[in-house]
Each structure stands twice: as structure tokens, then as C-alpha cells.
Amino acid sequence: MSQASVTTPSQKTSGFRIGGVSSYALLVPGLVVSIIFMLLPLAIMTVVSFYTTAPSSTGFLPIFTIQNYIDFFTAPNTPSLLLNTFSLALVASIICFCFGFPLAYFLTFRIKSPSFKNYVITLLIVPFLIDSSIRTVAWIAILGKGGIVNYALLATGIIHTPIAALLFSRNTLYVIWLQTYIIFMEFPIYLAMNRIDPDLIWAAKVLRAPPHRVLYDIVFKLSLPGIICGFVFVFVSTLGDYVTPGLWAGGIQTMGLSIAMYSDNFLWPYASVVSTMLLIISVAVLFICFKLVDIKKLVYE
């Protein structure tokens, strides 16, 4: 039998049939679910942000108005709201990066067996999956007045009264977010580092590059797509987290929190306004990120 010429996947024609079903048809379930439960709600939410609040059955009337937006932008606490949310998310992302990068480096280059790698990855996913509420309550046991940190400090005599400020401050938020979202930062960096050709590192060492040059020029720069990706993931996730600041920020107002507050009071148009602002910020950040980095490279060729 003559050898059939095998074309590589990149020369493949489009619309290959899988299981007798065209590729286009396979995309239908995913597309339908995405449209109904994601794009449609977001569109409606944006539209509702332009409606007036009124004591009707749904809490608003379909009368177009931009009064909601004017109220939002002229309210006295709006600048601090935006600034707080933005800065909290930014600092949290930077902190996650500082802690996550060595972790990803260790996972890629210092562990040899793939099954152990899998176990470490799942080990790191677990804290992300504890409920927000339980996780934040558990932090009382660590940072609270009777918590383990204060207990240890009191027992060794470094301080004489428990520090109350460990718990209700910005730093608490950073600590909690670090524990929660580290996997979001670490996993993309790990995926990007995995794709670095080990021959490059070997070549650099053969050419007698000092270790910090190897680390910076090769590892850091080549895993930059993963770093930016992880940074954006953590940033967007902390933008929308309202449970943690609600319990532990000690009064710092964030956008997610005001959305939740408005929703609890059934003020849908106001909630939609803040939510649309949040959405615009997130999409803008994501857009910049995807222009800088080709995330598809992390996943398919």
C-alpha cells in the first residue's frame, strides 16, 4: 500500500466532521449557554441601568433616563469608591504575583515527576474551593484577638495586649485574597513556563550566564504571557469580590459591596449602574491584556 501523505493539523481544511457531526454543530451547546446565561443578562443589565426606579412589580419602569448615571458620578463617595476598589485589586494582584512566581518556578523546574506535579497543583486548588464565608470566618481564628497570631505573640511576651488591628484592615484583605486567588496567578504562569524550551536554559548556562540573568532574561521574559494573564485574572476576580471586604475591610466600601447593597434593597437600576461600571473596567483591562498577550498560545497552537 502506498504511503498516504499525512498533512499536519495546520494544513487541515476547516469544518472537519467529528462523530458525524460538523464542528459548527458541536459549538451550539456552548454558544447557546453562553448567550442565554452570560451575554443576555449582561446586556439586559446594561439596559436596566438606564431605567428609572419606580415602585412597580420589578422595581423599575422602562423609561429611558441617564439620571442614574448622573447620580452615580456626582455622589460624594463615588471617587473614593472607585479608587478603593481599583487600588485594592491592584495591590492584591501585585502581592499575588510576588508570591506566585516562585511557586510556579518551583513547580515547573524543580519537580521532576508529572504525577507529583499534579498533586501539588490540586493541593493548591483546595483553598480556593472553600466557601468565602467559611474561609473568612476561619481567618478570625488566626488574626483575631484570640487567634493564633495574637496567642503566640502574647505567649512569648512580645506584646502585652492583643493587637486588634490585624483583622479589620486592608492588610487582612490582602492576606485573605492571597490565600484565595494564588491559584489563579500561579496556574497561568506555570502553563507559560511549561512551554519554555529547556534547551534555552541549558544554552544560557553553557554560555556561563549568571543565574539572575538566566532567571530574568529567559524565565521571566518568556513567561510574561502567563504573568500578565494571571495578573489580570486576579485583578478581575478581586474587583468583583464583595464578601471579603464586606466582612473584613472595616468599613472600606467597594463597588461589589455597593452592588450587593443595592440588590438587597431591590434598587435594580442603581445596582446596574455600578455593575455596568465594574463591567466596563473589567472588560477594558481584559482587552488591554489580550492585546498584549496572545492567550491562545497557552492553549492551542
Binding site: G19, L31, I36, L42, L124, I125, G146
Partner: protein, 271 residues
């Protein structure tokens, strides 16, 4: 190099300890014999897990085993998580299969799906809430499962596609060149090669739906899912070690599911 090695191993070990510290403390303190949720530790007891209620307790003082509201929420959560897992598996498998080839709109679709977890949860939850209020549809648990599916599909997709055997397409073409029908190609060639990834996508969908609070809080009804139940209870009740007991149970299940998934993934890698 030796010193660097020791340094980074210490760092990783300490970090994992830090990340697990709340869980460990939670489990330890759930056996605490005092009504307070912090140290000092006053003796081991399992009363927060299974003490028989005398009829006077409420909220935070009923032990975990006898709190019917908690088990109702637990049942809801299992229901939602299973549905989310099934939907996630179906969608992730279909989309991963389709995205391998250069079809029209491939990039656009990838971004749309990726938006599912990149959009802030509050926005999606709020949007869905308003949508269903306008349409006057009832809040069933299917909706919560769908929200969790939208959230889990990007994870599952990346997980699956990052582990695809690059020769998978070649095997499929070989099979169809040897005149296997497309259905047989899928059933006997593709599916066995990706079965571990499919299973791990299902488990991941389950675990993500298990712990999701923000998105489900907007579409929950009745007793709610575990996450929303705990959230609302903590807002109105004093905090006692009972919640640690509850948290320990929930975390235990997540950990078991994840360990299974880790095992499944490592099976998938031994080719």
C-alpha cells in the same frame, strides 16, 4: 545551587502551610469545647458535630448533624453541583473537539467562553437575577447550575486543551482513512484517548459549583446552596465552632473530590 534549592523548598513548604492554615485551624477548632471560635483550646469534643439537640438551641448552637436546614442546603448543593458537572462535561468536550480545527469564528468563540469566568461574578449574578425577574421565570436550581457551568467551562476547556495529545487529530484521520464511520472514530479512537481529561473536567465542574458563593447568591431560593446558607446564617447568628464543623464537612468533601481528580489526571498522563 544547594542553598538555592533549600531556600525555594522552604519557601514553597511555608507557603503551602500558610495557605492551609485556616483549614487546619478550622478542623482543630471545630472540636473545641468552648462557645468561642478562637483560642484557648478547652478540650476535645465532638459536640458541634453530633450532639443531640435538647430543643432549646437555635441557629448556631444546633450541632451539624441535626441541623435540618444545613442538610437541606447540602442536598441543594449536591443537586446543583451534579447538574453543573454534567453540563460542563458536555459543553467542554464539544467545544474542545471543535476548537482544534480552524473554523470560522474560532477565536471569537474562545474569547466569549473565556468571558464566563473573567466577568465579575456580581455582574453576572445581577444580570441573571434581573433577566429572570423580567421574564417572570421561577428560580429553579437549573439556573444556578447554569451559572456555575458558565463559570466552570473556561477552566475545564483550558484544562482539557492544554493536555490534548498533539497526535489526536492524526489518529482520527488514520481511523477515518481506514474507513471507520465518523461515529466509530469518535467512540473508539477519540473518546478513549481523552477519557481522563473528560472525567477531570466533570470533577472540576462539580467542585467549582460546590464552593461558588457570589454567583449563586443572586439566584438562590429557599434554604439556598451551602455557600449562601452559611453566608446568611453568619449574618444573623453568633459565630460558634459549629460553623467550623460545617466548614470541615464541606471542605472534606471538596478535598476528596479533588484528590480523586488529581489521581484521574495523573492516570491521564501515563500514556
Amino acid at each position: 545551587m544547594k542553598l538555592q534549592d533549600i531556600g525555594i523548598r522552604t519557601y514553597v513548604g511555608l507557603f503551602i502551610l500558610f495557605v492551609y492554615l485556616p483549614i487546619i485551624l478550622m478542623i482543630v477548632l471545630s472540636t473545641n469545647n468552648s462557645g468561642a471560635i478562637s483560642f484557648p483550646y478547652q478540650g476535645f469534643t465532638t459536640k458541634w458535630y453530633n450532639a443531640v439537640p435538647t430543643g432549646y438551641e437555635y441557629g448556631s448552637y444546633i450541632s451539624a448533624y441535626y441541623d435540618w436546614a444545613f442538610w437541606q442546603a447540602f442536598q441543594n448543593t449536591v443537586y446543583v453541583a451534579f447538574m453543573a458537572a454534567i453540563m460542563t462535561t458536555i459543553i467542554v468536550t464539544c467545544v474542545a473537539m471543535a476548537l482544534r480545527h480552524r473554523i470560522l469564528g474560532r477565536n471569537a468563540l474562545f474569547y466569549i467562553i473565556l468571558l464566563g469566568f473573567l466577568v465579575p461574578g456580581v455582574a453576572l449574578g445581577l444580570g441573571n437575577n434581573i433577566l429572570f425577574k423580567i421574564m417572570n421565570w421561577q428560580f429553579t436550581w437549573w439556573i444556578a447550575a447554569m451559572l456555575d457551568t458558565v463559570y466552570a467551562v473556561p477552566f475545564g476547556l483550558i484544562l482539557m486543551m492544554a493536555r490534548f495529545d498533539p497526535d489526536l487529530v492524526l489518529y482520527e484521520r488514520a481511523a477515518s482513512v481506514l474507513r471507520a464511520s465518523p461515529m466509530n472514530v469518535f467512540r473508539r479512537v477519540t473518546l478513549p484517548l481523552i477519557r481522563w481529561e473528560v472525567v477531570s473536567a466533570a470533577i472540576f465542574g462539580f467542585v467549582l459549583a460546590w464552593g461558588e458563593l457570589i454567583r449563586t447568591s443572586f439566584v438562590a431560593s429557599g434554604t439556598g446552596v451551602i455557600a449562601t446558607y452559611i453566608n446568611t446564617q453568619l449574618a444573623i447568628n453568633p459565630i460558634t465552632p459549629k460553623w467550623y464543623a460545617v466548614g470541615a464537612i464541606i471542605t472534606g468533601i471538596s478535598i476528596i473530590a479533588l484528590v480523586i481528580m488529581g489521581w484521574v489526571l495523573s492516570r491521564g498522563q501515563k500514556k
